[in-house]
């Protein structure tokens, strides 16, 4: 899918260093989506459920290009979803995000280039 993407949030809804969850009913994805805002202000999207245990990555700690799971501290790359720290061993699914005029648009299942 391409085009204009799905408007999922206003940028101001997501404090830096934190995340919010967007319901799969809105995004049409297999899992809810975690919109994660890095400490440089950029926004990224991953499947919300940690690949290790059942935990919401949107409740995790977002910092310097990574999100850390709030339960067992597994770490994932915001850009690619690649797992970067145990105990998780499987990558998270990343989705492309665009910010236009203070609005956040999601492109489900597209990867960022």
């Amino acid at each position: 899918m391409s085009g204009t993407g799905i408007r999922v949030a206003a940028l101001d809804d997501i404090p830096e260093g934190e995340g919010i969850t967007v319901d799969r009913a809105v995004t049409g994805t297999e899992d809810d989506i975690a919109l994660l805002r890095d400490d440089d202000g950029s926004v990224w999207a991953l499947n919300d459920t940690c690949t290790h245990e059942t935990a919401s990555l949107a409740e995790g700690w977002v910092e310097k290009g990574h999100v850390e799971c709030p339960l067992h501290a597994s770490r994932f790359c915001l850009r690619s979803g690649k797992v970067e720290g145990l105990p998780a061993t499987r990558d998270a699914v990343a989705h492309r995000v665009e910010v236009r005029d203070g609005e956040v648009y999601l492109f489900p299942n597209e990867t960022s280039s």
Binding site: H52, E53, T54, A55, E59, G60, P70, L71, H72, A73, P87
Partner: protein, 452 residues
């Protein structure tokens, strides 16, 4: 601006912990009758209460577990997930603000194999995740994640394995206390007449108090009762133990003024074992100049009354039974954490009025640090005394010679100015009441023994 945490929403009753067929044999918890160790009427004390291991174990069960114990200041919890770890007796606890902004406290021990689930002193978190095998608990104490959950039998229900919660948490003017005792009277009731004296420090102007960031912690050789008792009842030591510090604070080239050395004052004696002593000379205020100049004494007189301003507000010492003490004029607030019969850990905060400008708060902080910080000129004298007393107390002959608490015997009375029973400034009356309370708790089965 700090919002005041809600105080609703806690369990109110003990957390159920499935024990199956486990039952602890009573030989593991022998009970000693302490009637013969404390003579509160005659003012005599057997030194074994400061050194004996069985007595110490019984104290944890019968003095600490059923009593209201100081946990933290409300200022330490501003948003959900803020936490502070401390001890109740020797039990490690986490104090935190849950998602509904209620301050709650939990035993800091994993229900799996017992590791601490929070190993930081203070901070902000979303969950308490055990670093041993990864069981994770939310801010409401629920077990929310168990790695390899499939490996447990069907009857394993995470609802049975949440953190053990401190069933009662209440605050008095920002000071948060907790108790394991589901049937304890309310905190306000347990403080009783002591609250009037505490409010001389906590209620200067209606804006309340806050704490300077950080807690000073230090370890001393010495039984926890030596310091708790001293803060309840002992102005007697001041001129002797702190002679050098008093000389230091006196105007250059002079020794301290006569009215500073020979003080008139009163000592409050609370039936629940609390105590507070304070000189009553109007010139007794004894603090940093910047604080003194900022303070509106007329407003304080209107709010608190002359008796409180000319006594428990301007100077003195106090203990809330069993192990919380404070010095009103320094803003020093501390807990004597027991660490075995021979050792204590002192945890000390500096309290300031929220209404103080920053430079006055800073002056208060520095003044408290210089006098009653870990290396304060007064604190060091006190610690030296307690450790000295403890260090020799294991000697067989030394340990069997009774100690004297007879000063001011029979002097407690209503004086018409200070509420409740008071004695002289120099008196052991509050000390006798402290040990009377201790003896009574030690000889009374606690709620869990009665329920069994």
């Amino acid at each position: 601006m700090t919002s005041t945490p809600e105080l609703a929403g806690r369990a109110g009753r003990p957390t159920a912990t499935p024990a199956g067929p486990l039952h602890r044999p009573s030989e593991l918890t022998p009970t000693i009758d302490v009637s013969g160790l404390v003579d509160a009427d005659g003012g005599l004390l057997d030194r074994a209460i400061f050194t004996d291991h069985q007595i110490y174990q019984q104290e944890l069960r019968r003095v600490f577990a059923p009593s209201w114990l100081f946990l933290a200041h409300t200022d330490q919890f501003r948003r959900p997930g803020d936490f502070f770890t401390t001890y109740m007796g020797e039990d490690p606890v986490i104090v935190t603000m849950d998602k509904s902004r209620a301050v709650r406290a939990y035993l800091n021990s994993c229900r799996h194999r017992g590791a601490r689930v929070c190993r930081a002193d203070a901070g902000t978190t979303r969950n308490f995740t055990c670093t041993y095998h990864g069981w994770a608990y939310d801010l409401e104490g629920r077990l929310v994640s168990v790695p390899n959950r499939e490996g447990y039998p069907d009857r394993f229900d995470t609802a049975d394995w949440g953190l053990v919660e401190v069933p009662r948490v209440e605050n008095h003017r920002g000071l948060i206390f907790g108790t394991w005792n589901p049937r304890a009277p309310s905190l306000r009731e347990a403080l009783g007449g002591m609250a009037w004296y505490m409010d001389a420090m906590l209620d200067h102007d209606g804006a309340g108090t806050e704490v300077v960031g950080g807690v000073h912690k230090w370890v001393l050789e010495g039984n926890w009762k030596l310091s708790a008792e001293q803060f309840a009842t002992d102005w007697y030591h001041v001129n002797m133990s702190h002679a050098s510090a008093l000389m230091l604070l006196a105007p250059a080239g002079k020794s301290p003024r006569d009215e500073i050395v020979h003080r008139a004052g009163r000592q409050y004696v609370d039936p629940n074992g609390h105590g507070a002593g304070f000189p009553v000379h109007p010139k007794n205020r004894f603090d940093a100049l910047a604080v003194h100049q900022w303070f509106d004494y007329e407003a304080a007189r209107a709010r608190l009354g002359d008796a409180r301003v000319e006594g428990p507000m301007t100077n003195g010492h106090a203990t809330v039974f069993p192990n919380f003490s404070y010095l009103p004029v320094n803003g020093s607030v501390r807990v004597w954490h027991p660490k075995g019969p021979d050792r204590m850990e002192v945890w000390a905060w500096t309290l300031v009025d929220r209404s103080m400008p920053d430079e006055v708060k800073e002056a208060q902080r520095l003044y408290n640090l210089r006098t009653f910080g870990p290396s304060g000129v007064f604190e060091a004298d006190d610690g030296e005394n307690w450790s000295e007393v403890q260090a020799i107390s294991r000697g067989f002959v030394t340990n069997s010679v009774p100690l004297n608490y007879q000063m001011g015997l029979g002097s407690e009375r209503e004086d018409g100015r200070y509420p409740g029973k008071t004695s002289e400034l120099y008196s052991d009356a509050a000390g006798r009441a402290f040990y009377r309370r201790w003896q009574s708790l030690m000889n009374t089965p606690a709620w869990y023994e009665v329920d069994r």
